[in-house]
């Protein structure tokens, strides 16, 4: 058992409490406001929730490790779009013409490699220049988006491959393909962060970088690996999603970084690094998707949705604060 599991579980408790609140609220409100005869907490609807959480959720797992590491990645949305373009475009490249449906795994691989490289490039810049990750990836958010537009101008890149669509829409044991990938990503990153030396070092670096350096941890390469991981996961998210939808707009993935970061922070990861876990992030992702879904369910209009989502984010923080309130005798700092 990793030390401190219980205390972190308690601290990330706010998000689970909030998820339950959401479920209750939307179920009750849905009875009055929804046109659907189906209950909000319908089993199929919950399975759908899991699937719909995948695009942001898979990236959020990578963001957890990067943020625990004390960094941040604002370029994931653009990486997501680039990976999607590579996936869809490469399937039409003449060199792969003889492959038949075998082009699919090749295209997947290519997209994943590109995503990993883009992530690693951010990591390399952070490592070698010492520029803060926020700035490096803020720049990359623009630069990578520029690359997206370079591919195909303003046109969407499309390649609808029905074999691929059928695979992506398939269900195994009642779970959609995307859900499986989300669960797998969660599990793997959980394993890495809770069980492996690499993961524990990520916490150490995020917590006290100088101490980590003094202890002889190779901080630079370590951070680069984590950026490569988030690049890979952004590409994986794209691969899973665009296998099903078959076309990418050059604007796709915009604002994903903000949603992903929101999910991660709601899940209890410290912005300054050193603390956080994947299970909490999973909760954060579900909470956000539930909110979107629920507001749709009860038919809120756009301005209400914006207003409510914003206020809810703040409310969760307040709830979290109440749960973690220090005793009256504790230091007031």
């Amino acid at each position: 058992m990793k030390p401190g599991t219980l205390s972190t579980a308690l601290k990330s408790g706010a998000i689970w409490g909030f998820i339950i609140l959401e479920l209750i609220f939307f179920s009750v409100a849905g009875e009055f406001l929804s046109l659907s005869d189906k209950a909000f907490m319908d089993w199929d609807n919950m399975l759908l929730l899991l699937k719909q959480s995948a695009p942001i959720g898979i990236i959020a797992m990578g963001m957890t490790i990067v943020m625990v590491n004390g960094n941040i990645d604002l370029s994931v949305g653009a990486t997501f779009a680039i990976a999607a373009i590579v996936l869809l475009d490469s399937m039409t490249w003449p060199i792969f013409a003889g492959l038949g449906d075998w082009v699919i795994p090749v295209a997947w691989l290519l997209a994943l490699v590109v995503g990993t490289l883009l992530g690693a490039l951010n990591g390399l810049i952070v490592w070698k220049t010492g520029v803060d990750a926020f700035i490096v990836t803020l720049g990359a958010m623009l630069g990578y988006r520029g690359i997206v537009f370079m591919f195909n101008g303003e046109q969407p890149t499309s390649h609808l491959n029905w074999t691929l669509v059928d695979f992506a829409e398939a269900e195994l044991l009642g779970l959609a393909t995307a859900s499986w990938f989300l669960l797998a990503a969660t599990l793997v990153i959980w394993f890495v962060m809770a069980k492996t030396v690499h993961g524990r070092n990520a916490y150490a670096i995020g917590d006290n970088r100088e101490a980590a350096v003094n202890a002889g941890i190779r901080v630079g390469p370590h951070m680069m690996i984590n950026f490569a991981i988030i690049g890979f996961l952004a590409a994986l998210s794209a691969v899973v999603f665009y296998s099903e939808s078959g076309s990418v707009n050059p604007n796709d993935g915009q604002l994903y970084e903000l949603w992903v970061i929101t999910a991660v922070v709601l899940g209890g990861t410290k912005i300054t690094g050193g603390a956080g876990n994947v299970i909490g992030t999973f909760g954060g992702v579900i909470a956000i998707q539930l909110l979107r879904k629920g507001l749709g369910h009860i038919g809120a209009d756009t301005s209400t949705v914006n207003l409510v989502i914003g206020l809810i984010l703040v409310a969760v923080l307040v709830l979290d604060r109440q749960l973690n309130m220090k005793g009256k005798e504790e230091l007031k700092v």
């Binding site: 070092n201 916490y203 006290n208 101490a211 202890a215 941890i217 005798e329 007031k332």
Partner: protein
């Protein structure tokens, strides 16, 4: 010992920082099985020399030898690989991680798939912790430990690897006596296995107790190396500061004034209970106890940083509620906090601005800060406390540990408080300055200040206090006057024995 080869030899090391020549051709060597003291005033370059050795700084000139080979310590990793263990002056721990993970930071034991071998990790750690005789276990979160215990975690690192040389940079600065005993045992054990030990401290009694040789630095320059057995406190002090010190206590010849601060039945949750004492104008009251005795929490309560759960605080005979440090400051209370880096200083700010921070609202010239008045304050304490800095513009983070502490003291002295509370005021301060600070505390009392000194150093408490409050586990055990206190009855009081039990 003379025929053996040194484990480590540094020759003509030079290191400059912008505006500071921190090391100017320093040579130094350590023999296997030797405890070698490195001494010098605050800012003399001790930590810098060790950081060069530990691969944290690259020297501008000079050579490091291990055995007969010249080596380059390109980074902490290399130094570690070559068998050099560095216990840092400033705590270097990841607070969110467990004790075990911190001790083995950078070299966690692994199983297949890169997994951490938790069982092995905690077994190894607990074995070490047992040797250190500490009251926490491998899975405790480091952030939950007291500073002293965090220091013990730092020390535990020395025992994890096959070290050739271990550097202790002021390991006892935040330890109490019982933990020091454990540390000295550890050092003796290492010594027995022929490890070379470099020991930095400002505490003479320790130096003479455990070290074999002493090397002295002054202003980045090598002053010489002497056999401990052949030297005296006076001779070493002379080497360090170029003069001898008058360590006699200047007894309080002044009359005591009214009660400035009184505490009646004060309690604060689990931290301390039913504490009562009073401090008069012109009086220095020492607070002595073991780590966790609750002295710091009392100070924090008086400074408005904690709400008491019961009891009263009286200033000049009047019951007051102190809700915030601003309140406390307005009522004439100053607190020199325990943790200078975390609580005392804004490391990224310059020396002057740190020093004037608490009174920044008072130094007004029209709508602006009166920079002239600020400079005056800085200059005054710069001189009085002999702070070594290239100038007021220097980032406080770039000062040596002891000089940082002096900035904090200057910051609160300049407030001219009615009640001055100092929590471990001379932690990391060199002998010269320490006696200056002690003198200063006595003088302040003579001027009518009420002074509370919290310290874990018995000589310090005995030296400066008019009365001593002995605490154990959140309770006041006994209050001594300077006449009836002895080392023995003080130790009894703070280990929880009442006088009846002793008798």
């Amino acid at each position: 010992m003379t025929d053996a080869k040194p484990v480590l030899r540094l020759e003509n090391i030079v290191k400059t920082f912008p505006g500071v020549r921190a090391l100017d051709g320093v040579s130094f060597s350590v023999m296997p099985g030797e405890v070698h003291a490195l001494m010098g005033e605050n800012g003399a370059g001790k930590s810098t020399l060790m950081k060069v050795l530990g691969g944290i700084h690259q020297p501008d000139g000079g050579t490091i030898f291990m055995g007969d080979d010249a080596v380059v310590m390109a980074g902490p990793l290399e130094a570690k690989a070559k068998g050099i263990v560095f216990i840092h002056q400033e705590l270097s721990l990841a607070e969110e991680l467990s004790v075990a993970e911190n001790i083995y930071l950078g070299e966690l034991p692994t199983k297949s798939l890169g997994r951490v071998d938790w069982t092995r990790l905690s077994d190894q750690t607990n074995a070490i912790l047992q040797k250190l005789n500490v009251g926490f276990d491998a899975n405790t979160r480091v952030g939950d430990l007291s500073i002293a215990n965090q220091q013990m975690v730092e020390i535990a690192r020395a025992l994890t690897v096959d070290a050739k040389a271990v550097i202790f940079d002021e390991p006892t600065a935040s330890l109490t006596d019982s933990e020091k005993v454990v540390l000295f045992d550890v050092i003796a054990d290492l010594q027995a296995t022929n490890v070379g030990i470099i020991y930095i401290s400002h505490r003479m009694e320790e130096i003479f107790k455990i070290t074999d040789r002493i090397t002295v630095l002054r202003d980045g320059q090598y002053q010489g190396t002497v056999e401990t057995a052949d030297s005296t406190e006076e001779s070493v002090t002379q080497m360090m500061i170029g003069r001898t010190l008058d360590l006699s206590r200047n007894a309080s010849h002044h009359a005591l004034g009214d009660v400035a601060l009184e505490v009646r039945g004060l309690s604060c949750g689990k931290h301390y209970r039913d504490v009562s004492f009073e401090v008069r104008r012109g009086e220095v009251v020492g607070f002595y106890g073991l780590v966790g005795a609750g002295r710091t929490e009392i100070a924090e309560t008086l400074f408005g940083l904690r709400d008491p759960s019961a009891g009263q605080i009286l200033l000049d005979g009047e019951v007051v509620r102190i809700n915030s440090p601003a309140d406390a400051i307005a009522r004439g209370i100053s607190l020199v906090p325990e943790d200078r880096k975390g609580q005392g200083l804004v490391l990224g700010m310059n020396c002057r601005d740190n020093m004037t921070l608490p009174q920044i609202d008072r130094l007004k010239a029209g709508p602006f800060v009166a920079q002239g008045a600020e400079m005056e304050i800085f200059d005054k304490y710069h001189k009085q406390l002999d702070i070594r800095t290239p100038g007021w513009k220097q980032r406080v983070g770039n000062l040596s540990g002891g000089n940082q502490q002096k900035i904090v003291i200057g910051k609160w002295l300049s407030m001219h408080p009615k009640v001055l509370i100092v929590d471990e005021p001379t932690r990391g301060i060199d002998v010269g300055s320490k006696s200056e600070i002690h003198k200063l505390l006595r003088e302040l009392a003579a001027q009518g200040y009420a002074v509370m000194v919290i310290s874990s150093e018995m000589p310090e408490v005995l030296h400066v206090s008019d009365r001593i409050v002995a605490m154990y586990s959140g309770r006041v055990m006994r209050t001594f006057s300077s006449e009836d206190v002895t080392e023995d009855n003080l130790i009894q009081a703070i280990s929880g024995m009442t006088s009846e039990q002793v008798a």
